[in-house]
Amino acid sequence: MTAETTEIKLPSRLESIDKAVVEALKFATSAGFSEEETYPIDMAVREAVANAVKHGNLLDETKQVEIALSSSDTDFEISVRDFGEGFAVEEIPDPTNPENLLKANGRGILFIRTFMDEVEWFHHPKGGTVIKMTKKR
């Protein structure tokens, strides 16, 4: 199988999260992932796009969220770019620390790290932050 890619651009509103998930699952299914295998992809796309919409672009609908999906024989790769100010991932509090257990927010990155095999963040040279997530086949 050769590598296949697709890109999606969506406005920064909550409805875009479900749209991104639907498109990602369609792409993953066509790339040969079973329904059970798409669950981690579903979760990672949902959490990353939610972060981009809410925390990156601050629900500013004039800013887009760019999602790139790529599938090869060995990997399924998801990149999500926002156009926000950026953040230091190491400064995100650990939600499993006892003092954070009863907080309502802050578990999305934990889920992404749990469900994907590799996760990295970088500043896009033309602005914004990109999270790149890889699931091994």
Binding site: I17, R46, A50, L101, A104, G108, L110, F111, T114
Partner: protein, 115 residues
């Protein structure tokens, strides 16, 4: 169809919420929040969430379960969880919230635990 349907039953002074659908960012989380607020407003603070038909929860949904738990506690009540699917059980384990919530896989046992 709504993302999350919640139907309500009473067992004595315990309110059981049978939830069916997804508890995710947006509609599902809001539906749970407004139901819990309404129950607390009606003085119903012994609440059992039946999650047996909840197939999907994201981090926002987990956050809403935590917010519900703390809101009910604040009113002197108790919120417990019934019939966790494997996926929800895994998410609660990852987040270490199994140490926070009382969870049951049998409704009778859950109801007895409020006594």
């Amino acid at each position: 169809m709504a993302e999350l349907n919640i139907s309500e039953r009473q067992a004595g002074d315990i309110t059981i919420l049978d939830m069916d659908g997804k508890v995710t960012i947006g509609e599902g989380s809001v539906a749970l929040r407004s139901t819990i607020r309404r129950l607390l407003g009606e003085g119903k603070s012994k609440i059992l969430l039946n999650l047996g038909q909840v197939g999907y929860v994201d981090s926002s949904g987990i956050g809403e379960l935590v917010s519900s738990f703390t809101a009910v506690n604040k009113e002197g009540g108790t919120l417990k969880l019934l019939n966790l699917t494997q996926k929800i059980q895994d998410l609660l384990a990852i987040t270490k919230l199994l140490t926070v919530f009382d969870t049951f896989d049998n409704e009778g046992d859950a109801l007895s635990s409020y006594q």
